[in-house]
């Protein structure tokens, strides 16, 4: 689109080109301005409609709207329509005027400038919503509350934080390996069943549930009631019907951590399975056949041939899940709230920030998470690149 218009404009000479762009620019500014005005003032929609009706002579309609007001749903619809116009108009404005700006530059530098123009919005958004908060967090961790020494010594020496650190390590270890191993097992197994898509859907389904939703479900699975009351939790209902005493799963330290990790595995296994299953299908048949002919057993085939050839995918899956688990918050928040020695770093960060308002200590926790996650991300991205090149 842009290129065609560009050539059309160029052909018409500088005056026509200037006029055309000028008109387009004014129209776009008008749309954006109107849209912003409407988004800012909830009464604007009504007023515009009233004015429009009056202008075309439908005074009765105008009065009816002015006196009775509009239905809320209708106002919302109009508002979102204008939001859309502002968005599209704004983006159009940005790129077209940017392009004109570049056209105005000497020909040599244009190719060098253009890519910058196009990534500019993304850079600005990343800067405002990612880089700035990150820098601010680091600043807070060094200046607020106890300063650098106080905040970071809290992170590493506070007894509650030690438990959180231990738990996070447990989560990373058990959660990541659990998800990957079980996901790989399922991927290998569904490869051999008839209705593969059907079987996969079931395992993939938990991933579609939000972590909060999943945690609520599992809180019921683990629920405990005093002896004599009806056991509403699934596990305890089964367990007591076998003649045992009910087990307070979420309060039994330290095993309750494992019970929470099971929720994460339940969610993440589907993801691991889908990616690894795709990778398995990418293993060349010739390779497998050759191994079989050479007399490899199924076990040898899987561990010596298949796994090495999908190593890249396994690393990607493992690092992605590792990062997700590192910042685990919702599962703990919903099920135990960090009680009964199930605290994790992210939950503690939330408590420090929003419950106790210790911005420095909360920021220090965030910085620790950031530092830990960086090497993992490097591995993840490198690995993705290598795969991209290989494919």
């Amino acid at each position: 689109m842009t290129t065609r218009r560009e050539t059309a404009i160029t052909r018409r000479g500088p005056l026509a080109r200037g006029l055309l762009t000028g008109v387009g620019f004014v129209v776009a500014v008008g749309i954006v301005w109107l849209g912003v005005a409407i988004l800012l003032d909830p009464g604007a929609v009504t007023r515009i409609l009233v004015t429009t009706y009056e202008a075309i002579g439908l005074t009765g309609q105008a009065e009816a709207i002015a006196s009775r007001g509009l239905q809320e749903g209708f106002v919302r619809l109009i508002t979102s329509l204008f939001a859309l116009l502002v968005g599209v108009g704004g983006v159009w404005l940005l790129y077209v005027s940017g392009n004109v700006l570049i056209e105005a530059c000497p020909e040599r530098v244009r190719p060098r400038l253009r890519p910058w123009l196009f990534i500019l919005p993304a850079v600005i958004l990343l800067g405002v919503y990612l880089v700035f908060p990150m820098v601010e967090t680091i600043r807070l961790s060094l200046t607020e509350d106890g300063g650098f020494a106080g905040n970071f010594s809290f992170v590493f020496t506070d007894p509650a934080m030690r438990i959180a650190m231990r738990n996070n390590a447990l989560w990373l270890l058990a959660g990541t390996s659990g998800s990957v191993v079980i996901g790989l097992a399922f991927a290998g197994l569904v490869d051999r069943v008839k209705r593969e898509a059907f079987a996969k859907t079931f395992i993939f389904l938990p991933l579609a549930i939000s972590a909060v939703g999943a945690s609520v479900i599992w809180r019921f699975v683990y629920a405990w009631r005093p002896e004599g009351d009806e056991q509403v939790g699934m596990l305890n209902a089964v367990w007591t019907s076998l003649g045992n005493d009910a087990v307070p799963f979420l309060q039994t330290t330290p095993w309750n951590n494992l019970f929470l990790i099971v929720i994460m595995i339940w969610i993440q296994t589907g993801f691991a399975m889908v990616v690894l299953s795709a990778a398995l299908k990418g293993v060349p048949t010739e390779l497998v056949e050759a191994a079989r002919i050479d007399g490899a057993s199924e076990r040898q085939l899987f561990f010596r041939v298949v796994i090495p050839s999908i190593r890249g995918s396994i690393i990607t899956v493992a690092t992605t899940i590792f990062i997700a688990i590192l910042k685990v918050f919702d599962i703990v928040f919903v099920t135990t709230g960090g009680r009964f020695e199930t605290e994790v770093i992210a939950n503690r960060m939330f408590s420090e920030m929003f419950r106790f308002r210790n911005f420095g200590q909360a920021s220090a926790l965030a910085v620790v998470l950031l530092v830990v996650v960086i090497p993992i991300m490097v591995v993840n991205i490198r690995n993705l690149r290598r795969q991209g090149v290989g494919a």
Binding site: V36, L40, P159, P226, R355
Partner: protein, 471 residues
Amino acid sequence: MSKRWLIATIAALGLIVAACANPATGDGTTTTAEAEETTTTGGEESTTTSQSDDAAGETPYEHLNAALSGEYEGTEVTVNAQWIDAEEENILSVLTPFEEATGIDVTYEGLTDYETVLTVRVEGGDAPDIAQIAQPGKMRQFAQAGQLVAISDWINMDQIRADYIESFVELGSYEGDMYGLFFKGDLKSIVWYPVQAFEDAGYEVPATWDELVALSGQIVADTGTTPWCISMEHGDATGWVGTDWIEDILLRTAPPEVYDQWVTHEIPFNDPEVLEAAEYMSQIWFADGYVYGGNTAINSTFVGDTQTPMFAEGGPECWFHKQAAWIPDFWPEGTEAGVDSSFFYFPPIEDEFGSPVLGAGDQWMMFHDRPEVRALVEFLATPDAARPWIERGGFVSPNSSVPLDWYGSFPNNELAAIMADADTFRFDASDTMPAEVGQGSFWQAMIDWVAANGTGTEDVLQTVEDSWPAG
């Protein structure tokens, strides 16, 4: 060439405009919300603020009267509070008459995980106009951060002082300005029991702690059931039931001055007096067979469900439940306060400290200063505002101008009687301590202590002492 530069300049301007417009579309909701705020305040401030500044608090109910004459019709006020379910109906019975009389649209939202969600909203620039808070400590944090509107700046303080006793004004104040308007009072020093079964068994309401413990033992021996229903699971507020017990007992085993010093940390949190209070508490909480479901149930049953076993079909599964007067709202359907269960005063322990009462209260905080918000705050300060809730029960107004005959029936009349007999009144300590203790380590300590079934009391109290913020 010159035309080219002209175009370039226009285009550059366009870039700036677009850069401003983009975030608006990217995050439409926040921008709209903020904008609403600015436009509404901007629009009306010019007319009303100048008015009120001249007359700052000279006439009582100035804004309320303006609202009643329909001046703010069609405006909107948002209210957040922790009252949900049955309690939501109570607060709506208070707000609806105001809406009907003034035409102001009051949007109420009751929230679970209240303190957390409210803080998130306030920090995120999405504060409601008015919000309830139970912890004076939390209110002071908001005030300190400059997020609250000082009510004393514009309200008629003569009227406030005429309606509220000094201690409520003080509890709602921070550095000389009043930010919190007390609305609802709570007595915590009461124990609910099943009246009929209790009388049938020939038991008598215990008048001392020793009698209470002895009767608990007798109930175990007589019926084989557990005498107590105790539990404290309440989302991220789990643990407060335990802190209430410690406080109530401390008021009965130590002079009120010790309690005050404990709250302000002039004595260590784990002072021997506090340890002694915890040991008294263990006599009931961790005595074998005394609590329904044992220590696991204490940590895992929802606060609102605590008393349910008392109404079991085959007779009470537990006989005592220490909880404030709002608990009947959570009882199973078909039960009635005063009939199925009534309460007695949580008995004194050491004679010399008389009959103290532990209480709490909810106050309103104001986040945005608009005339219609002022009108609602003024309304909530009137005795009439509380009347519907008083009549629905479970509500004690801190407003002394509320006529006592409004509290016609149970439980209000009995609460008023306990209040009248009280030698000392103290506000819930955990609500007054710094948030990381009062809503953090103190609650957490109770959870850990219960999880350990009452062992390691000294260590548990030490963790709270260690967590007290410096300075």
